[in-house]
Amino acid sequence: MTTSRDRDQDLNRLLDDDGGEFGTLYRRLPRAEPPRRLDRAVLGNAARAVHGQTPYRHRWVVGFGSVAGVVLAAGIAWHVGQDALRQQSLNESGTGAAVVIPVQPITSTKHRHTTDAMKVDSTALAPMPAEPEPTAKAAKPQIMAPQVRAKSESVPPMPRPTPPPAAPMATPAPFPVAPTQSTNAPPAADAARGRAGDSTRAAPAQTSELREQSAPTRMRGSGAPAPSSSLELRRDMQLAPDDWLAHIRQLLHQDRRQQATESLRLFHATHPQHPLPADLQALLE
């Protein structure tokens, strides 16, 4: 009979380092090994676990790269937009240069609101009914400024002409005069206008004069005095009435009769109550 003492001996031998009788026999059993496919699966799983861990640790790199990409894209877009704006402004300034800054509209539109004497000029503008209302509205701020000055008799600094941004406002010129009219108009168109009193022709002729002012080559070729520009006229408007008249006389002395005439006309429109000197009145006739 197997006693408990025998079982304790077997257990003690089993717990020995060599495993005793049965431990030794067990080690002689076929030693099964896992198939290679299991090795590959286990090692692959372990490798994936390790490699899958790396991106977590370096996730900031991905985030930083994304932010850098967005910033770069935004920078490029901003540059492209700036270039487009620059190009657009260049185009607009080119268009604005082609169209003379309309000093004449100031005068002509003003005539509608001021004196009866100027009604002639304003009626002369009547044949331009195609003038859209928005244009008249756009011209209003330019009109009001001289009126305020006339009332207060003070000469506040003239706002600088706005070069390119104002160009779109000036583009729809209030006087779309046909080129033939303006080019064929005689230099002394004011004389013809005064002589005939034909208001329908006077306005185009007047406009053509102003346009000729911006055509220096043509003026030079015809031996006319140095061309005046709207800027010069605007500068004249900043002068006090007496100074302005003195300046007109100076222009006459310099043999710049055309510019003196324009300046005097503008003076009369701006200061209708101011009496014109007899020597200068002839210019308006």
Partner: protein
């Protein structure tokens, strides 16, 4: 294992090469089914990989590995069939305690010894077989076996005693 937890894949390969055979045989002799063995072998390593950052070098790596494997084996047993009750085990052991005079005492060939040991292992109740395998295959002591199986030291000793008695009975038959 600590090195692998830091991302050293070579360390894991070293561990794997060292313990793969032992684990595979433990599972094979516990489950007695190759397909189950393959499945639980892979699952054991997968769980070890997943838990690599929780590893603490308080216990031997072998103990930790066999702990995972043992849990999987027990889960499989519970799903497959009910365990033998302690009463059934006692009955079997009483029957095995046959008089020594009645047991044939003849020398067996080595092949026959291995075959009988294999049969005896297969016939052992799960708890005894696992305790025996943890001892002879894993080389674990009583305390380590108790830690893995959740049994006390004396319980482990008792299981081993019964296992040895059954094996010896197989050899005496």
């Amino acid at each position: 294992m600590l090195a692998y937890a830091e991302g050293d894949l070579i360390a894991f390969e070293t561990l794997y090469r060292r313990h793969r055979g032992m684990l595979y045989r433990f599972l094979m002799r516990s489950l007695r089914h190759r397909a189950d063995t393959d499945e639980l072998f892979q699952e054991t390593w997968s769980r070890l990989v997943a838990a690599r950052e929780r590893y603490r070098p308080d216990a031997k790596f072998t103990t930790w590995l066999l702990q995972i494997a043992h849990n999987l084996v027990i889960d499989r047993f519970r799903r497959q069939r009910p365990q033998a009750s302690p009463e059934e085990t006692e009955t079997v052991l009483r029957d095995l305690d046959a008089p020594e005079s009645e047991q044939p005492d003849h020398a067996l060939s080595e092949f026959e010894q291995r075959r009988r040991l294999q049969l005896a292992l297969e016939e052992l109740p799960e708890e005894q077989r696992i305790a025996f395998l943890l001892r002879v295959e894993g080389g674990l002591g009583l305390d380590e076996i108790g830690a893995i199986t959740g049994a006390g030291r004396e319980t482990v000793k008792s299981r081993l005693r019964y296992a040895l008695a059954r094996i010896r009975a197989r050899f005496s038959s």
